[in-house]
């Protein structure tokens, strides 16, 4: 396949970035999107040019490292896949592909397609945990949990922290991200004990870090590679009201 890539290049956070055009002559349809970028970078390095910087690690859709805007969609146009799992077979011969970093104030660009997502860690540090020390846990089956609720908790807990929800939202809201963690713990008996403190602390931190409010458009759910449901946000709101 022949492709034209328009990639956002930005040396660092201080300088302005711009789109740079690259021609790719022999992209194989079996490549993943990142392998296509690997091929570009190989060429650039061999020409002693600066390769395109992007975050990536597990390359099996679970670590949450990778993420970029591809043709106007976080992780590209195919639903429910991360960038590392996006196959080039979804692109057409001769297509032009626009590749950009996440655009959100709380995620400043570090270089090219790499953004600083440490704000997500800060929110989790504020309250995304159950306070229990190693050694203090009761026997695992001594607290029963309804299978249905536990399964729902699992569905919320599979968020990979990639940031696509924030990037997709016109308000750069982190509601879907937070609500996934709040829901996971709210649905489990182990998490109920400090549910109020948790939701207050996480929401407060989210606001402090400059994430916007929920736009109610559902863009986050539509773009989430793990298909985290909007109902989590409803549960977050309910938990929040209960906490005051």
């Amino acid at each position: 396949m022949k492709l034209t890539l328009k990639i956002w290049r930005q040396k660092n956070a201080k300088v302005k970035g711009t789109f740079v055009t690259y021609k790719m002559d022999d992209v194989a349809p079996e490549m993943s999107f990142l392998e296509m970028l690997d091929a570009l970078n190989k060429k650039l390095v061999e020409e002693d040019k600066d390769p395109v910087a992007f975050d990536h690690d597990c390359r099996e859709g679970i670590c949450g490292s990778c993420g970029m805007y591809i043709n106007g969609h976080p992780h590209g146009p195919v639903p429910a896949v991360t960038t590392c799992h996006l196959s080039m077979r979804y692109f057409k011969e001769g297509e032009t592909i626009w590749i950009e970093p996440w655009r959100a104030k709380p995620f400043p660009v570090i270089k090219d397609l790499i953004v600083d997502r440490s704000a997500f860690d800060k929110i989790q540090i504020a309250g995304g945990f159950i306070s229990i020390n190693a050694g203090a846990a009761p026997e695992a089956n001594s607290i029963l949990a309804q299978k249905k609720k536990s399964d729902e908790a699992f569905d919320s807990s599979i968020c990979i922290g990639c940031g696509a929800c924030v990037a997709a939202c016109k308000n750069a809201s982190a509601m879907l991200f937070i609500s996934a963690k709040i829901s996971q713990f709210a649905l489990l008996p182990q998490g109920r004990v400090e549910a109020k403190e948790r939701v207050r602390a996480m929401v407060e931190k989210m606001d402090e870090l400059g994430f916007g409010s929920c736009s109610n458009t559902g863009a986050c759910e539509a773009e989430c590679p793990k298909q985290i449901k909007l109902t989590n946000i409803a549960r977050l709101n309910r938990e929040y009201y209960k906490a005051y």
């Binding site: 079996e30 390095v45 600066d50 597990c58 679970i62 896949v81 190693a134 695992a140 998490g191």
Partner: protein
């Protein structure tokens, strides 16, 4: 033997850990705050250790190369985590879990460590459940389990196919709680470049800030490596592409012995390589073998689609060769059996390097819904990658490099041969012998981090309470930093033509071809020569654009590959030395008439611990003899 003291406590096996804990030296709570501990890595073992040490009141500094501790590669473990809870009333016990691991490891692991890993497994499950890990449950509200390879009980706790992710996020949450409390300081995007040893004790590390290129010094009273395995030595593996052995290798060169480096697990169920550009291989959880049946056509070069091949023309080779365990034989056995069929010309798919994993029987018996509940996300992942639907046709799978049983040599306290330097989780060698059983890596990593190390490290630190904060102005720090900078400069100044990844790929190919699922003396020697040549080429023709004083991912990669050129040589040396077949280490010269591994307990019932004695000099071998007091060494049979 002289240099190795495994410090195994006296007394009966089942009481060693209890007695140890009751007699170990403790650190007064007021003194803990003054003691600093560095933990490198944030997977199950690293984040677990950092959390638990923080909870105890130590001052912890935790490092990872990713942008967030939540991305450590434990996140990708799929199938489950073992514990000896015996919730199924199927005859399980701590002893049986211990026995299965010893046998599964082909009698090359240390009894006392393995018993302890089995013992703390139950605490691990209790702790994760309390941390809010949403393990699968039964309708009555209790935890559910499933079966895994190499055992006949159901002891594997799971969260669909994302057990690693859920456990890791549990660890991440407990780590975050300690960060909030100020007990742990987190340093993401840092690469450990060297270990600093002062007066024979581990006292700190040199790191590179991967965003700025800044070289940093960090001092501590003890250093814990939780840096994972070296499966990416094959380039293509199930590991994260940035996983590396550099921290462990640097520690090795500073005096930590490296044990059994040739024990590498090749996982049987991975998505086969599709093309030459591929950057990694994706694991399909071993749990799939609970319901999937592995087969190839009975006729060579049969190109019919799998569904068109009638039942009587299929060879369910695992069921045929191993009627007792069938599709649930351990990984090493399953991998070699698949390789044997493919080498003999019965492989499927375009490359003929794949076998079928067929769910049609299970779907017919249990219904599609039941299968979807158990493996839904794995089936989707497979479909995403290959475009084939496993509900409609068999998966195609082939073995891939996965887990390294070898690692830094540690004693019972998980301390390496450098006082004050510990290795936990996959980075040490101690619990899995020559082959790891499924779902026991999460178990061991979390056990080491949360429950073993926090107890053993006080035995060392109790004598360190009078040592003031370690100053990074000491000459040893300056020297280590200088060496790290010099090496970076050396890599930067090559200015050749080729990328680090292209060298890595070629190195991996050599390793896979000659040091993979089976090995022989001629091949191993050939690989040594080829790697030496490639290494020379690397140091002449590598190119890294840009500078070292900025984010430079090519430089990050180059440093890791340079270390792999050294580790591969030790790995092969170890494989040559071990003139027997055991577990995943299969020397073609040593096999039974029906193609099974032929151990040599007379000569090789030992841990091979290798000492680095200087650049260009051959490693020195130290043997830790393995004494089996509880378990009788038998032929490991799954037939």
């Amino acid at each position: 033997m002289g240099k190795l003291n495994s410090k195994i406590p006296d007394g009966p096996l089942a009481q060693k850990w209890t007695k140890y804990k009751a007699s170990v030296k403790l650190v007064n709570p007021a003194n803990k705050k003054k003691l600093e501990i560095i933990v490198v890595g944030t997977g199950l073992s690293g984040a677990g250790a950092a959390s638990a040490l923080g909870e105890l009141g130590y001052s912890v500094k935790n490092f990872c190369y990713q942008d967030s501790p939540r991305r450590a590669h434990s996140v990708a473990a799929q199938g489950g985590i073992n514990a000896a809870k015996n919730y199924q009333n199927d005859g399980d016990s701590v002893y049986r879990l211990f026995y299965d691991m010893i046998k599964g490891g082909d009698y090359r692991a240390r009894e006392a460590n393995v018993y302890r890993a089995a013992e703390v497994s139950n605490q691990v499950i209790d702790h994760f459940t309390a941390l809010g890990v949403p393990f699968a449950r039964d309708y009555g509200g209790t935890l559910d389990t499933r079966s895994f390879g190499g055992v006949q009980v159901s002891r594997t706790f799971y969260a669909k196919g994302q057990t690693g992710q859920q456990c890791l996020l549990g660890c991440y949450s407990s780590l975050n709680r300690q960060i909030k409390k100020g007990n742990v300081k987190m340093f993401p995007r840092r690469e450990m470049l060297d270990l600093v040893v002062i007066d024979g004790k581990a006292r700190g590390i040199i790191t590179r800030n991967l965003l700025t290129g800044e070289i940093e010094r960090h001092g501590a009273h003890a250093v814990v490596l939780a840096t994972g395995g070296y499966g990416t030595i094959y380039y293509l593996s199930t590991l994260a592409v940035n996983s590396n052995a550099s921290a462990a290798w640097k520690a090795h060169k500073k005096g930590a012995f490296f044990a059994n480096p040739s024990f590498v697990q090749i996982h049987p169920t991975c998505v086969p390589q599709l093309n030459e550009f591929q950057s990694k291989l994706t694991l399909m959880s071993e749990s799939l073998r609970n319901d999937g049946r592995v087969w190839v056509p009975k006729t060579k070069d049969d190109t019919r689609p799998a569904n068109d091949i009638p039942e009587e023309e299929r060879d369910y080779f695992l069921e045929r060769r191993y009627p007792t365990f069938g599709n649930l034989v351990p990984r090493d056995v399953a991998s070699r059996a698949a390789k044997e069929r493919c080498d003999a010309g019965y492989g499927v798919g375009e490359t003929k390097l794949a076998v079928n994993l067929d769910f049609s029987d299970a779907i017919n018996k249990q219904g599609k819904k039941a299968i979807e509940n158990k493996y839904g996300n794995l089936f989707e992942m497979y479909k995403t990658i290959t475009g084939m639907d496993p509900y409609e046709e068999p998966m195609r799978i082939y073995p891939a490099g996965h887990y390294t049983m070898g690692g830094l040599w540690v004693d019972y306290e998980l301390m390496t041969t450098i006082p004050g330097l510990y290795a936990i989780g996959e980075s040490n060698f101690s619990d899995h012998g020559a082959n790891r059983l499924g779902a026991s890596s999460l178990m061991q990593a979390a056990g080491d981090g949360y429950f073993v190390l926090p107890n053993t490290i006080s035995n060392y630190l109790a004598d360190e309470i009078r040592v003031p904060k370690i100053s990074t102005d000491k000459p040893e720090f300056a020297k280590a930093e200088k060496a790290a900078v010099e090496r970076i400069n050396k890599l930067m100044s090559i200015k050749g033509k080729q990328t680090a990844a292209s060298f890595h790929k070629r190195l991996g190919k050599i390793m896979w071809d000659y040091v993979g699922m089976t090995r022989n003396e001629a091949g191993l020697k050939k690989a040594l020569d080829m790697i030496r040549e490639l290494r020379d080429e690397f140091w002449k023709d590598l190119n890294i654009p840009g500078t070292a004083n900025e984010l430079n991912m090519e430089l990050d990669k180059a440093g890791r590959v340079a270390d792999y050129f050294e580790l591969t040589q030790l790995l092969i040396t170890d494989a040559l030395n071990r003139k027997e077949s055991c577990g995943a280490h299969f020397r073609e010269e040593y096999q039974t008439p029906d193609g099974e591994a032929l151990r040599n307990d007379e000569e090789f019932a030992y841990v091979a611990a290798w000492e680095y004695i200087g650049e260009g000099k051959p490693h020195m071998l130290h043997k830790e003899e393995l004494k089996f007091e509880e378990v009788e060494m038998k032929v490991r049979s799954y037939k």
